[in-house]
Each structure stands twice: as structure tokens, then as C-alpha cells.
């Protein structure tokens, strides 16, 4: 007996709609997490570069901890672990909201920001120290020098590794289904459970992941070429 391929069943009708709604959820959670993790990662990198001992230690501890523990564990930590720390009233308040999506965003953001912080830090190292010196000498504070002089140059250097972090995030977003966020992978699993057409559902969802990844990659590269590099030849 061979496996009966039936792509029509999974891309049309009710199941097609499931995949689309899963795709929307995946795009939504990925987009929010990418923006937040870039911001948080940059902040963590700047703390590490600040030369203020306690901040440097805190930043180093943050990156090492969140880079080196499994994302799945972190997702459970935020979702189930928070219960034991937060007051009952807060837990109840959260339970009435979309806490699953929020925990997914927090976990993806924190996890990815640890990697992004390291990428940005290495990008900053590739910028000559004299740039910081020159900007500080003009009266810019450390944060101003970072914001206007160092980071804009560092970002250009780290675009390729940043893209791979974004792509990792998109792929990692499939793990949020473990706490019930109905993303693309979740929907593919549901279709499999209902129809046993798992191969088709996962093939279609894989193609969707591939499309998202290629588009993100293309988009960032275009931004890099058109906006960032166009300004300095």
C-alpha cells in the first residue's frame, strides 16, 4: 500500500484556511519578536560595551544564560514558571488575556536577543576605536556616540549574521506551539491529526517557511544595499 498524496485536501477548504491562519500567526509572532529582539539585543550589547562593571557583568550573564539554555525550556519557564513567582491577581489577569502569544514573544525575543547582542558586539569591535574617541571628543555621551556613530556603522557589518538570526527566529517560532499558540506548524500538525495527510500539510508549511525566510533575507539585503550602503560609498 502506498501513501496517497492529496495536496488538494490540505490547501483548499477548511484546512487551507487553517494553514493561512497559521501563516498569519507565524508572521505576526516573528515580526513582533524580530523588532523587539533587535532592540533588546542592541541594548544588551551596549551594556556589555559600557565599561561599567556591574552592567558588563549583568549583560554577560544575560547573554550566556539565554544563549546556552534550550529555547523550549525557556518557553516553559516563562509560561509555567512565571506562575510560581507572580501574585495570584496577576496570574488571573494574564490568564484572561492572550498570555500564550505574549509568552511566545517574550521567549523568542529574549532568546534571540542574546545571540543578536553578541553579533552586534562583534560588529562594534570591527569599528576602529578612534571613531568612539572622535565622537566622545566632540562632547557626545557614550550612549549618543553609540547611537549616532558606532552602531550605524556596526549594523552594516553585522547584516549577514543578523539575517541568519532573524531566520533562526522564524524557524524557532514553531516551538511556541508547545504552549498552544496556533502557528503554521501547529496547524500542519492539526491537519495531520484530522486527515492523516501529514506529508502534504508539512510540505506546504515547509514551502511557506521557505518563502518567509527568502523574503526576509531579500528584504534585509535590499535595505542594506539601497539605504545603508547607498549613503557611504
Amino acid at each position: 500500500m502506498a501513501y496517497n498524496f492529496d495536496f488538494g485536501q490540505v490547501i483548499s477548504g477548511e484546512y487551507g484556511q487553517w494553514l493561512v491562519s497559521g501563516l498569519v500567526t507565524t508572521l505576526h509572532i516573528s515580526a513582533v519578536s524580530i523588532v523587539l529582539s533587535l532592540a533588546l539585543g542592541t541594548a544588551v550589547a551596549v551594556l556589555r560595551l559600557s565599561k561599567v562593571r556591574p552592567l558588563v557583568w549583568a549583560s554577560a550573564a544575560y547573554t550566556e544564560f539565554f544563549r546556552n539554555t534550550p529555547l523550549l525550556v525557556q518557553i516553559f519557564f516563562w509560561y509555567f514558571g512565571s506562575y510560581n513567582v507572580l501574585p495570584t491577581a496577576v496570574n488571573d489577569w494574564l490568564a484572561r488575556r492572550d498570555f500564550e502569544f505574549a509568552c511566545g514573544v517574550i521567549a523568542l525575543t529574549v532568546y534571540t536577543s542574546a545571540f543578536i547582542a553578541e553579533e552586534i558586539r562583534s560588529g562594534v569591535f570591527s569599528i576602529p576605536k578612534t571613531q568612539l574617541e572622535a565622537s566622545r571628543a566632540c562632547g557626545l555621551s557614550f550612549l549618543q556616540a553609540m547611537a549616532y556613530v558606532i552602531l550605524p556603522q556596526a549594523f552594516r557589518v553585522v547584516i549577514p549574521p543578523l539575517i541568519s538570526q532573524f531566520l533562526n527566529l522564524i524557524k524557532n517560532s514553531s516551538l511556541v506551539m508547545t504552549i498552544g499558540v496556533m502557528d503554521l506548524t501547529y496547524m500542519a500538525r492539526q491537519i495531520e491529526a484530522h486527515t492523516f495527510h501529514g506529508f502534504e500539510a508539512f510540505t506546504v508549511s515547509t514551502a511557506m517557511y521557505l518563502c518567509i525566510s527568502l523574503m526576509v533575507s531579500l528584504g534585509v539585503n535590499l535595505y542594506n544595499r539601497r539605504v545603508l550602503h547607498a549613503r557611504a560609498r
Binding site: M1, F80, T178, G180, M182, T195, G198
Partner: protein, 272 residues
């Protein structure tokens, strides 16, 4: 980039085409081999799970498979399957039959065939005692936990469109969400809910409520379009019921006084 895309497409295609073509006549196959290979659950008490003392897979479905193998005159070999591997393994012939708490649904018919119903249960709700939920009707605006790879999510959505379903990987996680108040109920087959409730330190704090949200008839998974084998399995099941062997196995796992007590309230379909 384009080259990489082509390569990944080619790999996907190769994997899909690799699903082998099994030979016809599973019954002859099994008999000449002298072994029936059954795909079973290994972590779903009391249906199929690893016994802590003996390290063997035991359970209601395992006993049922033993009885079937005895009737076919062959030995039994068990292979653990999961919700996502059971169909490919059956389709590729890695197992001859699947006994893994699988609900017989029309939509599932075009991949595999099913035996007649060998276990009848229905989807219910597990809630905190005194938590204000007595049936699906009370779930409007509330969150319900279910487990992925099951159809319970859609069923409860149909019974109460106003609820939000949160699906987890495993039953313990869904139950933890219920305990932490993240959801107000969890839903799945009553037979499974009984086991979950009993696994808690304080089973009295929880109750199983409501009418059946949906009937869940379990069928054995069989290779598609092999009527000889299907007949043999169906006749064996009916024979078990008629000779009382089925009831004996049922009592052993679900009888009064057992941990997962569930009264036998349905009758197997018996062909005259």
C-alpha cells in the same frame, strides 16, 4: 540562493517518492512470517505504557493485540508509535496494524482502513470541582486545554464556539495549565481524563463533567484496501466479544476497583 532552493526542492521530492510500495496480501504476509507487528503507544496508560517494574509495554491495547495474534496463530511483536509516526509506519509496512487510541474518523479513511470499533469513549471536560464549569455551554469566553494530534480541539470549538482552545504537546502540560488556572477546563477522551485525574495527588479536587462532546470510537489502523486482512481482524474482534475474552481484558484495565475505572456501557457491532 536559487541553487539552494532547487536542491531543497529536489530533496523534498526524493523523500516523498521514497514511500515504498508494499506487497498485497497482508494476511498471508503475517502468517508466513509468523509474527504480527503491532504499532502501540508506550506512554498512554492504561492503553499502552511501559510498566515500571518489568520494563515491558503493557496495557489494554497490548492485551487486545495478544488475543488477536493468538487467533491468527502467530507471535506478537510490539513497536512503539506516536501520533505522528503511526500513519507513515503503517503505510510503509513497518507495522502491520496500529492499536494506538486512534479515533475512527471519516476524513482519515483515505489513508488507511479501520477495523470495527474496539473501544468506545467520548470527549468530556475535566474541571476544578466548584469552578463553575459543568458543561461545554459554560465555556463561553473561557480557555480550554487540549492536546495536539487529537481532534478534540475542533470538537469543543463546535460545541462552544465562544471558547479559546490552547493545545499542548502532552497531557501533563495541559493538566498543569489547568492547575495553574491558565485554562478553566481540559478536554479529551473520557478514558484518558480518568487516568489524568487519578494521576493527581488529590483526585478529589477535579471532576469530569458534561455530556459527550463527541463520540470517540477507537478503531484499529489497517493497511488501505486489504479486505482479507481487515475481515480477519474484524472477525477476530467479534469473536473476542462473543467468547467473553474482550470483557475479561476490559475488566482487567477498566473494571470496578481499578484505578482507571470506566463502566462498559457500549456494545460491539456484531455481524450475524
Amino acid at each position: 540562493m536559487r541553487k539552494a532552493a532547487w536542491i531543497s526542492a529536489a530533496v523534498c521530492l526524493a523523500v516523498l517518492c521514497a514511500a515504498p510500495f508494499a506487497t498485497a496480501g497482508k494476511l498471508d504476509d503475517v502468517k508466513s512470517r509468523g509474527v504480527l507487528v503491532a504499532g502501540v503507544k508506550d506512554s498512554q496508560p492504561p492503553f499502552g505504557y511501559v510498566d515500571e517494574k518489568t520494563n515491558q509495554i503493557v496495557g489494554f491495547e497490548i492485551d487486545l493485540m495478544e488475543a488477536l495474534a493468538k487467533r491468527l496463530g502467530v507471535k506478537l511483536e510490539l513497536k512503539p508509535v506516536t501520533s505522528s509516526t503511526r500513519i507513515p509506519m503503517l503505510a510503509q509496512g513497518a507495522v502491520d496494524i496500529v492499536a494506538a487510541t486512534m479515533t475512527h474518523k471519516k476524513e482519515r479513511e483515505d489513508q488507511i482502513d479501520f477495523s470495527i470499533t474496539y473501544f468506545m469513549t467520548g470527549q468530556k471536560l475535566l474541571v476544578k470541582k466548584g469552578g463553575g464549569v459543568a458543561s461545554a455551554a459554560d465555556l463561553a469566553g473561557k480557555k480550554v486545554a487540549s492536546v495536539k494530534g487529537s481532534t478534540s480541539e475542533q470538537n469543543v470549538k463546535k460545541a462552544q464556539p465562544g471558547c479559546t482552545v490552547i493545545s499542548f504537546e502532552t497531557y501533563p502540560e495541559a493538566f498543569l495549565a489547568l492547575k495553574q488556572g491558565k485554562v478553566q477546563a481540559m478536554t479529551t477522551d473520557e478514558s484518558i481524563l480518568v487516568g489524568i485525574r487519578n494521576s493527581d495527588d488529590n483526585p478529589e479536587a477535579w471532576e469530569i463533567v458534561g455530556d459527550y462532546i463527541s463520540p470517540e470510537p477507537y478503531g484499529l489502523g489497517l493497511p488501505e484496501n486489504d479486505s482479507d486482512f481487515r475481515d480477519a481482524v474484524n472477525l477476530a474482534l467479534m469473536d473476542m466479544w462473543e467468547t467473553g475474552e474482550y470483557q475479561k481484558i476490559y475488566e482487567k484495565w477498566f473494571g470496578p476497583g481499578k484505578k482507571d475505572h470506566l463502566p462498559l456501557t457500549w456494545k460491539m457491532e456484531l455481524w450475524p
